[in-house]
């Protein structure tokens, strides 16, 4: 990262900021601390906007709000790019905007009202469609009264038939037909003198008559049905007409308004950025940070556009600047998905290390070590390949799939090394043999192996911490890290000697070395240094989880195989085994991920990562895109909330 300063005549500030925004590389520093030396402090001060700029800002903000409201009314369609240059059309747009906003609002309100009507009418739709088929079957006469009912099932129909005495003397008739929602729609045609009795009977049998809107209560049954059907048709047609009108408006005016909105947003961001600029009586200054490899490009662009009037200068970075330098995570393509894990923590400081490559290397390794089943790995690999095409726009999902793919490969490799394919299925049915270690039986060797991995990982962390401390010129901290490494190796050596792997003769020199180094540790790290050492040893033991969780995973797989065998039936066995293995895979993926991640966050990063870095936020048009996405979501919600409020115009 380079520390830069852009200087030029005050009148070119706006154009310079536009160019800087277009290039999108400069993180503008709002404070001049560390950029202006004490001699020049009295003459360099924060840029104060003049009256013209303030009015311009107010005008543009109001303009942006109106256009956001306009776009909130328009349908979500892809708007083509306008062929018109935005600046000359702003005056025209400002004249038409109020009129168009009022038009779109009225259309929008009309659309909302129609949608609301259709929503309310939708509950009648199924009944009306079904009952109209019954009305077609019978001969309609004004002497008869018609009652519509909804019945749950055929049994309800039988109950109703038994209760209606009028059916016997043919003074009433009951017709039923199944409706789309699975219920039965019934129509009772009866003479007017007994219709009240039938209604009372229906109420007693808890088969209430189908209710129509209160506004049409005085109409006859047949008229009600016709009226509602007509109303639904009219509302649907009106809604289509409004949608078509809005779509036509979007097609005709959308590109122009979009170009204008983009221009307004650019102008606003430039005005906002100018608040972070500094000035003297004649010049402006923009201070900031940018990737070192981009400096030449921006410098050349400034030279080309302003013919040497505006210049970019690189300033020396001092020790006191280190805390202020913004941080950006830049990793090769393979490591990119793993940056999501890094982002769960605060950013590392500029002088520290980016933990992403370490997660990218060790996370899949630990995942494979814990899950360690070729069958499970194969299933995860197939699933990750199959789901690759799902939700292409969801970057987080795609990153998770990429990580799973790598992890599954490691699970397959370690599955082959452990001789596991769906637990002991590979061993018993396919004759697979462990190439490295049998996790089911070799519990203690696996424990030693897990600890050895912990020793290597924690020591690597401490070594990185030692390097990091040297880079920051904190010699005492570097000494503590180094002594911790030495102590850990001495203690591990002592334990191995105690177990009997090393000759007993080594025990005495190891103990003497520990005793000799103890004062040095206390001197360099203080009274808390022994506690730090104990914590590091505890961290190494914590890697025993690789063995422990791996053992539970393989035992669950074996249980699945044994239970499927106990069924005594191939199909049933496959179902039972499949379900338990599926549970095993799910638990395996979750627990392996969580514990691998924990080993990094708690045991590893603690040794060398210094958190608290500032995020690199370049001044660019991407900021506009973010706000566009946000606005398109929130404005529509706000519009819905404000629906019904009077139009401003």
């Amino acid at each position: 990262m380079s520390k830069v300063e852009i200087v030029g005549p005050r009148k070119l500030l706006g154009e310079t900021l536009s160019l800087v925004r277009k290039k999108g590389n400069l993180h503008i520093e709002p404070s001049a601390v560390g950029f202006v030396d004490d001699i020049h402090k009295p003459v360099v001060h924060a840029l104060l906007p003049d009256e013209k700029s303030l009015f311009e800002k107010i005008f543009l903000e109001e303009f942006e709000t109106k256009m956001n409201n306009l776009f909130a009314c328009l349908p979500d369609e892809i708007i083509r790019e306008s062929f018109l240059a935005p600046r000359p059309i702003i005056d025209t747009v400002s004249r038409t905007l109020d009129r168009h906003l009022a038009l779109c609002r009225s259309l929008c309100e009309k659309r909302d009202a129609l949608q609301q009507d259709l929503l309310e009418l939708s509950r009648y739709k199924s009944f009306l469609a079904t009952v109209s088929t019954l009305l077609d079957k019978i001969q309609l006469t004004p002497d008869l009264d018609y009652i519509g009912i909804t019945l749950k099932n055929e049994k309800s129909v039988d109950v109703l038939r038994d209760s209606l005495n009028c059916l016997d003397d043919a003074s009433c008739e009951l017709l039923t037909v199944p409706s789309e929602d699975g219920t039965l729609v019934g129509l009772i045609a009866a003479t007017k003198d007994i219709s009240a009795t039938i209604r009372s009977l229906l109420s007693q049998k808890q088969m209430p008559e189908f209710t129509f809107p209160e506004s049409i209560k005085n109409m006859t049954f047949v008229r009600k049905v016709e009226y509602l059907q007509k109303k639904i048709q009219e509302s649907e047609a009106a809604l289509q007409a409004v949608d078509a009108e809005l779509a036509e408006f979007t097609k005709r005016w959308g590109p122009m308004y979009k170009a204008a909105l983009d221009w307004v947003r650019e102008q606003l961001s430039v005005i906002q950025a100018s608040a972070f600029s500094f000035e003297t009586t004649m010049c402006f200054f923009i201070y900031g940070w940018m990737p070192a490899e981009k400096v030449a490009s921006l410098s050349a662009s400034l030279q080309k556009n302003f013919a040497g009037s505006v210049v970019l200068e690189e300033i020396a970075i001092h020790t006191e600047d280190l805390e202020r330098i913004p941080v950006v995570l830049q990793n090769p393509q393979y490591f990119k998905p793993f940056e999501n894990f890094t982002r769960l923590l605060p950013l590392p400081s500029y002088t520290s290390f980016d933990p992403t490559p370490f997660i990218g290397l060790f996370f899949p390794l630990f995942f494979g070590l814990i899950l360690g089943d070729a069958g499970y790995g194969l299933i995860i690999l197939i699933l990750s390949i199959l789901t690759r095409r799902v939700a292409r726009e969801n970057h987080l999902f795609q990153d998770a799939i990429s990580i799973l793919k790598v992890c599954s490969l490691y699970a397959i490799i370690f599955g082959i090394l452990y001789g596991e394919f769906f637990g002991d299925f590979g061993h018993t049915m396919l004759g697979m043999k462990p190439l490295f270690i049998d996790r089911r039986k070799s519990i203690i060797p696996m424990l030693y192996f897990a600890m050895a991995i912990g020793l290597a990982h924690v020591t690597l962390g401490l070594a990185m911490g030692f390097v990091s401390a040297l880079r920051r010129h904190t010699k005492k901290e570097a000494m503590v890290k180094l002594l911790n490494i030495i102590f850990i190796f001495l203690i591990v050596g002592l334990i191995i000697t105690f177990i009997g792997f090393f000759p007993e003769l080594l025990m005495r020199p190891l103990i003497i070395s520990i005793l000799v180094l103890c004062p040095l540790l206390l001197f360099s790290g203080g009274l808390l240094a022994p506690l730090e050492l104990l914590k590091n040893i505890g961290n190494i033991i914590s890697y025993a989880r690789i063995m422990a969780i791996g053992l539970t995973s393989v035992l669950l797989a074996n249980v699945a195989n044994q239970l499927s065998g106990l069924t005594g039936d191939i199909i049933l066995g496959l179902i039972v085994g499949g379900i338990i293995h599926l549970i095993g895979i799910t638990i395996g993926v979750f627990s392996s991920s969580i514990h691998s991640l924990r080993l990094h966050y708690v045991e590893f990063f603690d040794k060398f990562i210094e958190l608290g870095g500032r995020k690199y936020r370049p001044f660019s048009s991407n900021q506009k895109k973010e706000s566009t996405i946000n606005l398109s979501g929130t404005d529509k919600k706000q519009h819905k909330k404000l629906k019904g409020t009077p139009s401003q115009s």
Partner: protein
């Protein structure tokens, strides 16, 4: 009789840390969920905090294995 005591000791070695871990995680988890509702950016810190007590049960497991296998 020795076998019973060995099994009992191993059960205690893993059981007590498991209860302690569960208790600690329930408290940290509840507090963490509350924190995340207000500040989702703390998810990394909360994962770490929830995961810290797990070491107890892992250590208990190691001790239980050592007791059972008589290493």
């Amino acid at each position: 009789m020795d076998t019973i005591w060995i099994a009992f000791a191993a059960a205690l070695a893993i059981g007590l840390p498991a209860i302690a871990t569960a208790w600690a995680q329930s408290k940290i988890g509840a507090a963490g969920a509350g924190s995340l509702a207000e500040k989702p950016e703390l998810s990394g810190t909360v994962i770490i905090l929830v995961a810290i007590p797990e070491t107890m049960v892992i250590l208990g497991f190691v001790v239980a294995v050592i007791i059972l296998l008589g290493v």
